[in-house]
Symmetry: C2
């Protein structure tokens, strides 16, 4: 008997009909001879509606109260899904994060799971119940509810899978899995059967929205086998797991595009030791995540220093840079939001050279100008003009042959229609 | 420094604007030098919406899950109200029933409060906080949430007032207090300044909807001084408290009309010992509350037996009576929903005679036929035709001089305009 942890997001349980469909899926999994723990998000737009309500009474709501408020969405959702399971004849019980034994640290709105005491879950599983846990929440040392922040329900699912030593943690979504590129941009993009934790982390960090980095990190640390799959159709998704030897044969696993980046440039900074350190220390202290960094060639002892931040952080970055530019005697600063970051990710890069060269070559051939470059062991990212983003994804996808092969059984000659280079 | 427990119902906190108004009221109470514990219901129609959602996925939702679902309404409401208090600059903290130390028995959907451990409330009060408690809920021995049933938030407020030894428990509503009769039926009806627990209980049982009997009983048992007052205007309401000597000078405190009653009649029942006992034992076992009972004069060893039940219970009563009528050899049974129960309530009745006679006389003079009669020490109820209900209330209100007196300070001669007998 296998133990599955299944996580369903808000759009999968948006209304009564969705609830009934998800319940059927869960019950089928149980009837196939498995134990099932379900983690569920708040229904549809509930969380956004609660946030909007809170802001109506207080533009800066207290974080503890915000957590108390938001956590009710997942509690309600877990109870309703449990009722839907009962309607099918399934044995099932709902649990809040606290009842499920999920204990978190003291930070509100972005709490971290400290420990899970899954005794109550295990007792009810042993009695043949599907256990439906409210995602995104836990209890802190003050006996207050705290939420886990963005992607929190994914993290709940992975953490429960680790604590329960589940055979698999399934994240059910409105997509079929992880793709070689965004299928809305590149129609020949292929669903991956498997991907390593590190590749998934790089893709998530590079703008692929399919899984939150935090849940993947957690899965990696605890060796939880993750599967991203469709909540609408029963078919295999993408398995995220430890690297095995054969995986290195694939050099590029996928391409991600992140259009929510902005480039900040400090102009004419004195090119003396310690200045860059001072700048990035100040940004880090303000909790601004800096991604790519480029320092131009120095001229007359001065240099331009550019870096990218999330577009959401532009306001905060501006407030930090204003006094900072003066202190480090820069000539000023400016922002450029018209950029996109394109990343190639693949664990095979570790043992294959030439990927960077090939990438730049493809972009050049397509007249895409590269603004900034950064690399990791298994990723290459470039910042380019926003308008070139889709073209870059499509041409790289084709050049690295990531697309759908023509069906070998087809009698007609392979036409590579969908993978053809876009003319735009 | 006085300690107030204030309870606000769902319509008082229906939206953000209501929340802000209620927060202002609470903050004013605190700034006047009081400690304040607030008990709040779910916002507006939230509870009904959650029930409807539950029924969509399961026509007979499990009671534990229903409690988990419904309790989120009050949790959300308490957090939002706390945020609104913060926005005014008040120190405030929200608590779930569990956090407030409210422990209940094992019954779901109609749990009873077993004990309250108010340490956490007291600690936060001592720190200058308004404590906003989610009404209607507590934690049972299995660490599950259970709700208190209809009027549950009123009960939460009274129980907290008892546990905290509060100076007063204020129930803030969309009415100004308890009236001598329903002001929508009898415009000259007067708001009472005070009323005894027993009178309030009889009025509540007789159809006055201003307070739930359960909360009044609780207040009586623990000597909690209750006040029913307007949530919209700051002005004294009606104080519900122990009887004091002078209260007996007022013979009739108020008139209540209950239009949600139905009369059941078992026809031609054998008039032998034990038959009535058998009938009412069976009804009690089916949890059907019987109110008035009338047995007609026996003829030829047989009699008609009539009793009233809540209109909501007619279906259930019918199912019980069908086999029962056969067993006790009755000729059959019938229902009459076209009745209303009119009650006169007043603690002074204990020491004054003639009220019943006067009541029947007034009704006769107004051509209102009396169908059934029942009395308690401080109440007389009659069942009459539904169409006569408003006329009966108005004529009794006038005859017992319960109405507004002409203002004594007015220079014009008293006109008794509003107290004039309605012509209808």
């Amino acid at each position: 008997m296998a133990l599955f942890v299944q996580k369903y997001g808000g759009s999968s349980v948006a209304d009564a009909e969705c609830m009934r469909r998800v319940a059927r899926r869960i019950y089928d999994t149980q009837k196939a001879g498995n134990q099932v723990v379900v983690v569920v998000s708040a229904m549809g737009d509930t969380t956004d509606e609660l946030i909007s309500l809170a802001k109506q009474v207080n533009p800066e709501p207290n974080e503890r109260e915000m957590d108390s408020l938001l956590s009710t969405g997942e509690m309600a959702s877990s109870a309703v899904l449990t009722m839907a399971l009962h309607a099918l004849g399934a044995k099932a019980i709902s649990m809040t994060g606290h009842q499920a034994g999920i204990y978190v640290d003291g930070t509100h709105l972005k709490a971290k799971i400290k420990t899970i005491r899954p005794k109550r879950i295990q007792r009810h599983l042993a009695q043949g119940n599907v256990v439906v846990v409210a995602g995104f929440q836990g209890m802190n040392a003050s006996e207050d509810v705290a939420t886990l922040g963005r992607g929190g329900s994914d993290t709940t699912a992975v953490a429960l899978a680790a604590a329960l030593k589940a055979d698999r943690c399934q994240i059910l979504k409105d997509v079929d899995g992880v793709f070689t590129a965004n299928p809305r941009v590149e129609p020949s993009a292929v669903k991956l059967d498997e991907i390593t934790y590190d590749e998934m982390l790089e893709l998530a960090g590079a703008g692929a929205e399919v899984l939150q980095s935090r849940a993947v990190e957690f899965a990696k640390n605890y060796g939880v086998v993750l599967e991203v799959l469709s909540s609408f159709e029963v078919k295999p998704g993408t398995v995220v797991r430890e690297e095995v030897d054969e995986m290195e044969h694939i050099i590029i696993r996928g391409i991600a595009a992140d259009k929510n980046q902005a480039k900040a440039t400090l102009l004419s900074v004195p090119d003396t030791p310690g200045v860059a350190a001072r700048i990035f220390k100040t940004l880090a202290a303000a909790l601004i995540n800096v991604d790519m960094i480029v320092q131009n060639v120095s001229a007359e002892g001065r240099t331009d220093l550019s870096f990218t931040v999330a577009e959401d952080d532009v306001g905060k970055t501006r407030r930090v840079l204003e006094p900072l530019a003066e202190k480090v005697k820069a000539a000023g600063f400016r922002f450029d939001s018209d950029i996109a970051k394109i990343s190639l990710v693949g664990v095979g890069m570790k043992s294959h050279s030439g990927v960077a060269y090939q990438m730049f070559d493809v972009l050049a051939a397509n007249k895409v100008n590269i603004d900034m470059i950064s690399t990791s062991e298994i990723k290459i990212s470039v910042a380019i003009r926003m308008a070139d983003a889709d073209k870059a994804v499509r041409s790289l996808h084709q050049a690295f042959k990531l697309g759908r092969k023509a069906a070998p059984k087809s009698k007609a000659p392979a036409k590579k229609k969908k993978a053809s280079s876009p003319k735009k």
